[in-house]
């Protein structure tokens, strides 16, 4: 019983992290058909900011980490992606790939590439006991934060004017512009939100692993890609559910596979992506308006 509950909590917390990352990527894909490799570097930037500000009062540290990710997201949009708006997706993909490496290598230039330990929020590492089952406080926090952000974002997209514009832009960008949606504002907002999601993910991951390193974001983003693709590129619900499913699958494979196959679990997950792409190229939750017209 203990092990089952523990596995479920593991799966939900890891799934939550991947869902948040996938959502950050899915949001940008929705409004500009860009697969943002550089999302990982937003996560990385927050991680290193936490390290740099470590020791200051906690709210300040958190605010710093958040501000960096949002500002960096806005800056990358302005510099690397706005000039390419309307370019074909392959060009955008290359641009974000180059940007991702540029940010990563620039960071390595200033601080070296070795992983650095940071004892961020140690009080979350404690075990707490609920109904006779011992769980790690951090995992519950991760589940809570993911839940709040998912609900908050859903509310923002469904109930606010800006959210409506964003959904309209995701569905048919040209039509939305014709109807008076301000393209620059919508896209900038999407980038700001993706920065915010990246910052949240980064704080949680750093608290969990206690390590920051230049590759930290890229690893998460690669898995989150899988989530967005499985869920359906361009669909936000799809991205969140896809990300969650990938997290779930990773943990379940870890728990259920025989030990000598466990190391291959990522390979299984990526084979799943290929299968989804083949049998449902639009993903499990296809986005509307994505099919190209001739």
């Amino acid at each position: 019983m203990d092990r089952i509950v523990q596995t479920i909590v593991d799966a939900v917390s890891v799934g939550g992290l991947y869902a948040l990352t996938a959502l950050g990527i899915g949001l940008i894909f929705g409004v500009m058909r860009l697969i943002n490799f550089a999302h990982g570097e937003l996560i990385m930037a927050t991680g290193y900011t936490l390290l740099a500000l470590f020791g200051l009062p906690l709210p300040l540290v958190l605010f710093g980490g958040l501000a960096i990710a949002v500002l960096l997201a806005l800056a990358t949009e302005r510099v690397a992606f706005r000039p390419l708006r309307g370019a074909d997706p392959a060009t955008l993909l290359i641009s974000s790939f180059a940007l991702s490496f540029f940010l990563q290598k620039t960071l390595i230039l200033f601080v070296d590439s070795r992983p650095k330990g940071i004892d961020f929020l140690p009080e979350l590492g404690r075990q707490i006991e609920i109904a006779g089952i011992r769980l790690q406080a951090l995992q519950l926090v991760i589940i809570l934060v993911s839940g709040v952000l998912l609900v908050g974002l859903t509310w923002f997209l469904r109930a606010t004017r800006f959210g409506l514009q964003m959904r309209a832009a995701a569905e048919d960008f040209r039509m939305a512009r014709v109807l008076g949606v301000r393209a620059n504002r919508v896209i900038a907002t999407a980038f700001a939100i993706s920065g915010l999601l990246a910052a949240a993910v980064s704080c949680l991951v750093v608290a969990q692993t206690g390590i920051v390193q230049p590759r930290m974001g890229l690893q998460l983003v690669i898995i989150a890609f899988v989530g967005t693709v499985i869920g359906g590129l361009g669909s936000l619900t799809g991205a969140a559910i896809g990300g969650f499913l990938v997290g779930l699958a990773t943990i379940l494979l870890q728990a259920l596979l025989p030990p000598d196959l466990r190391v291959f679990r990522e390979a299984f997950v990526f084979v799943a992506v290929v299968l989804v792409l083949l049998f449902r190229p639009q993903g499990l939750f296809p986005a509307r308006g994505l099919k190209e017209r001739i």
């Binding site: 390419l84 290359i94 641009s95 620039t106 890229l218 890609f225 190391v263 990526f270 792409l277």
Partner: protein
Amino acid sequence: MGRDLLRRLWPLIALVVIVLAVALVFSFAPAVPQRRATQALINLIAVVGLYVFVGNSGVLSFGNVAFMAVGAYVSALLTMKAAAKSVFLPDLPSFIAAAEWPNLPGAMAGGVAAALLALVVGWPLMRLSGISASIATFAVLVVTYVVLGNWTTVTGGQNSLMGLPIYAGLWTAATWAVAAIAIAFAYQETRSALLLRASREDEAAAAASGVHMVRHRLIAFVISGFLSGIAGVLLAHFLGTVRVETFYLDLTFLIVAMLVIGGMGSLSGAVAGALVIAALTELLRQAEVGVDVGGVTLAAPAGLGDAILALIMLLIILFRPKGIAGGREISWPFGRHE
């Protein structure tokens, strides 16, 4: 008649002459620059391999480094001394453990194995288009990396394979580079490649004209896999060791960056990108070592080269998306085509 043929073959002749000239110049150079030139030529083969698929199909592939890895491991396992294998990999299947192939058959086996992998994964994947196809090739890279990095009995997992015959010198690399350029050129002159480029320009129009895009893409992917596999083989026998980490994101980035900077649309672009970036990387490496100015060493910070390479790639995609070559081949310099 002869002039027309010469004109048509001109890009091939010009590129081969350039590669041979590079090799000739560096054959008189000291050992270290010669090694750098060898590595540059091996990278050139990898870029040409990537170009065969990306340039003709218009689909960006992140997966070619996986083919390099397969080529490297297959050739390494077939050519290593049996005694060395019994130390590093005691649990190898016996036919591999006993194999001590000569270098050339080993290299061919590496290339063919990579081509076979390309055929097997390309069969289903070539139906995908655009960004889905790119992500699928990325998945191929990750799966290959995970499998090679954990299949301990055959690949040694995270450990390096050591004691490979080191035969990939300057002229071996140059010979293969010429062969790769010739194969890529011969392929792009075929009907199949022409039809594939038609589908690159407009998928729907090509399909409507009866172009079987999937089949032509698969042909390009398999040739691309073979050349990438050969590049991997040479890299392994240049370094003398094989590590799975060598064949992952950094190498993918380097090869893709070279192709993008040179220009994805032409073979001349692929070659130009590989050579220009190699020269630039070398220059920055010198800058990192530093220069003595009146007893004071002025050195650029370590890692500057990588950052600048990424920056150049970004600037190219922003301001000259067709790369240095602009999608054209080196053209006949004597008089206009009438």
